[in-house]
């Protein structure tokens, strides 16, 4: 669950608690009533919130598939497919759809031989490899000659698209764009087409792009390297432990057919949700949905990940020597988002490490001057499945990670022994309430929240139904969950230790 969503929770709590103060200022029930949804016979759900102040509209296509669903041997495939979804359709993106099929088949056939030869490692036939690599390069160049690069994106950007993008997380893949509202139908047409007949052109070049993305966002960044080590240590069994962007060797092994299989399995209309916020009329949206999206046949609803992370039975520690300055992060296993303990865990994290009045900030940054930054969060790296409550900390210059570690544990012990104050709990609730109201300013943020709630809870209304659940959180609850989940044997600790060149 993302931060915005967390904010929403707390906001809603406060709306009930402070109905006298705020009820007259902003009526959330009216907002809720203006949201309409429809499910097509093929299973596609569409959520619409009409708002006509400005003639723009934000759309998100939310796929219930993420890095946790990566097939074995193909880590990062959910993310790779997200890239491929921008390559166009059978007809958009090529000058010759029929000939392209042949040229792509040739690429695939050569790559399959190349792949198998590469897998032999040292036993592979070097000359054969060389020849295949040359042929492969030629096949890629031949196929590229028919391509109209970035044709799909251009069609939207030329019509005024803003924020055309997508993201993949452990739990979901989302495709976003905002348009002037008179271009809405164009989006419905293009977006449905790319999930009806995506053509996975440029597959093999795009792997290189993803490999560069991995170098940029992971390998060249000390914090990201540490995060990969941390997650693969905290999760031994569940796929939350595998790198979202994939291992380098897996990226090099992706084939077009593997991407196609992934699409076939996870991109059925019954695994997608559209959330649309802005200057549109719901009846028109549904009419266009019938016209464009109903074309896509239903598929099997993919099953959830069966693997359950076994209870951690001993503390795990990773020490990563690096030239960079120290970083420390730690996590404890907690349940998934819909579990009854989550609101209390979320409040606990906020009180510990969110904002200038949080306990860790005051102790570590303000008083002891041991850290320059510290933050805590519950619901990471995803929240569809049992996940982690984490604390991240950048020690101050000259301070060690172990000093910081000691203080963080002391502060958690204090909450276990004496819980938190009612003022602290109130502050969390109030802060997030204004966060929710402020979140309403942004069409795209709201669209994503509706889609995410719908995915995790099965119904976007759960967003508003959170009220009672969270309103029930007490200081005692926070103490109880601190004792229950923040246990020594369940902890994973990762430390970046600054090393001189020679020590590495």
């Amino acid at each position: 669950m993302n931060r915005a969503l967390k904010g929403l929770f707390a906001v809603i709590i406060m709306i009930a608690a402070c109905s006298l103060a705020y009820g007259s200022v902003f009526d959330f029930s009216r907002l809720q009533k203006s949201i309409v949804e429809k499910t097509l016979p093929n299973g596609l759900k569409i959520i619409v919130l009409p708002r006509h102040e400005v003639p723009v509209v934000s759309m998100v296509t939310w796929a219930d598939v993420g890095g946790s669903d990566d097939p074995k041997g193909y880590t990062g495939m959910a993310h790779m497919f997200e890239h491929m979804a921008f390559k166009g359709t059978d007809e958009i993106g090529t000058t010759d759809p029929a000939k392209e099929v042949l040229l792509m088949a040739k690429e695939d056939a050569i790559f399959e031989q190349l792949r198998l030869e590469r897998l032999k490692g040292d036993k592979g036939d070097k000359r054969k490899l060389e020849r295949l690599e040359k042929d492969f390069e030629k096949a890629i160049a031949d196929a590229y000659a028919l391509i109209v690069p970035n044709a799909f994106s251009n069609k939207l950007e030329n019509e005024g698209a803003e924020g055309l993008n997508a993201f993949t997380s452990k739990d979901q893949t989302a495709y976003m764009v905002s348009l002037p509202s008179n271009k809405f139908e164009l989006w419905m047409a293009l977006e449905s087409e790319r999930f009806l007949r995506p053509r996975l052109r440029e597959m093999y070049r795009e792997r290189e792009v993803v490999a560069e993305e991995r170098r940029m966002t992971v390998e060249n960044r000390p914090m990201s390297r540490l995060l990969e080590e941390f997650l693969s240590t905290a999760f031994k069994a569940h796929p939350y432990g595998i790198p979202l962007i994939g291992h380098s060797s897996d990226i090099q092994n992706y084939s077009r057919s593997a991407a196609k299989d992934f699409f076939d399995k996870y991109y059925g209309p019954n695994n997608l949700t559209l959330a649309i916020v802005g200057d549109v009329k719901p009846e028109k949206v549904f009419e266009l949905a019938e016209k464009y999206w109903a074309r896509i046949p239903s598929k099997y609803k993919p099953e959830r990940v069966a693997t359950v992370e076994p209870t951690q039975i001993c503390e795990r520690t990773v020490i990563m020597p690096d030239k960079a300055q120290p970083i420390i992060l730690m996590g404890w296993h907690i349940p998934d988002e819909t579990h009854k303990d989550m609101p209390a865990l979320s409040a606990l994290s906020s009180i510990l490490g969110s904002g200038r009045t949080s306990r860790l900030y005051r102790r570590m940054v303000r008083d002891d001057k041991a850290a320059v930054s510290v933050s805590a969060f519950s619901g990471w790296p995803g929240s569809k499945y049992p996940c982690l409550s984490v604390v991240f900390c950048y020690p101050a210059q000259g301070k060690s990670a172990s000093e910081c570690d000691k203080i963080i544990l002391e502060e958690i012990e204090k909450i276990k022994n004496a819980s938190v104050t009612p003022e602290e709990l109130e502050r969390v609730k109030t802060g997030t309430m204004t966060g929710l109201i402020a979140g309403l300013k942004n069409n795209m943020g709201l669209a994503q929240n509706l889609a995410q709630y719908n995915q995790i809870w099965g119904d976007w209304r759960a967003l508003f139904g959170e009220l009672d659940r969270i309103n029930a959180v007490t200081c005692d609850d926070i103490q109880r969950v601190a004792k229950k989940y923040f246990v020594k044997t369940g902890r994973t600790l990762a430390v970046l230790e600054t090393a001189q060149e020679s020590e590495k």
């Binding site: 059978d90 042949l102 970035n150 005024g160 055309l164 002037p180 053509r199 802060g431 109201i437």
Partner: protein
Amino acid sequence: MMKFNHKTFFIALISLLLSGNLVYGLDLSSIEFPALNKIELPNIKKIQLDNGMRIYLLEDKTLPLIEASARIHGGSYLEPADKVGLGDLMGDLMRDGGTQKWAPDELDEMLEGLGASLNSYADVISSGVNLMMLSTKKELSVELLAEVMRRPRYDEARFEQAMIAYKSGISRRNDNDASIAGREFGKMIYGSESPYARHAEYKTLGAISRNDLIDFHKKICRPDHVQLAVWGDFDTAEMLAIIKKYFGDWKKGTEKIPDFPKVDYKFDQRVGFVERADSKQSNVYLGHIGGNTLDPENSHRIVMNNILGVGFGSRLFNEVRSKHGLCYSVYGVYTSNISYPGKFFCYVGTKGESTIKAINLIKSEIERMKTEEATEKELKSAKDRYLNSFVFNFESKGQIIQRMVYYDFFGLPKDFLNKQKEEVEGTTAADVKAAAQKYLKPEAMRVIVVGNPKSFDAPLETLNNGPITKIDVTIPQ
């Protein structure tokens, strides 16, 4: 000769054919675009107080919020060269250091207790304060702004804490190759002593005292430097009365602050190089000095940027990323300011083994902007992207009012943006080529490469881009 396995070819072909069901053709041309609803420009009320402070008010009752942003003329360009970091510290601590009425802890507790956000900053040319809170506390919101701008406490303990954070920041500044590249490239363009590129060192921070902050604040933060924009859920007359109550008696400043320093730039070729033995990817910037927003060809340059290096459809994206697969991130943009010259710069992050190749590809695309006219399709696409997304300039009230503040400061006409739009509409391929010829100088570029030279596809010398200087980024103690 190409030889391939017929069975795998057959399977691949069949699966591709099956994926393309041509029964449902998509006819995009039949989609009609209805006229876009007219955007009603909000009515912003502008008032100048006797002390010179300019107020901009915009009612918007959609949500129970009040938002404000104060722009203060003057920023880090005014700090002495031996006290680099003073501007940033002053900016951060204006709010973090508490006010005369509220100690820092009290301020933190009050704001978080209200779910409000309040922050201050200093930029190179200006400083400012931003606020957002529920509209149930209208008077308090203005009082907070007044306290922070007029009576900051610059609390000693918070000053000490900020100093630790800043020094830690210096110790961490080489942990990320991409930020090294950006930082050093800025210095290559503007000069390492230039207020537009310099950065703090332990020594310059060590020279800064709490009194320096107080003096620096006094120098810039005064009513005749302040433009306060407030928008949200209030009545204009009531809000204006509150503002007058809290700011009306603020005394005008008298000392004139220096103008934005000129940039003395001579076009030449240089390669700066930062060796990073552990680097997994080279970070590269290349370019030269940029322009002024008021240059007559500014609108032509907007179109030029879209063709060359901004967006999915740009030449750099198509060539370096899509066609050659050399990077995840590549872009190129000619930027302009009014205060001081912008930069023309292209960025690419690419594996060591394709460093030189990527740089050369980018250079030849820049060259091509000068020698070939854009195709009709490219031109149309570049213009459409600007024109069709124009409505997003009006998506939020905050955007609209803050743009007005900026225009007002620099004395731009109210309809500047609309003029620019008309000029973009009229831009021709010849205009773009002429702008490229006038403003792009691929023959005189400065390049920074941060990476591991052992992995490079060719020595940096092969770039033929002038003298190569190894930049030592060791942090001076």
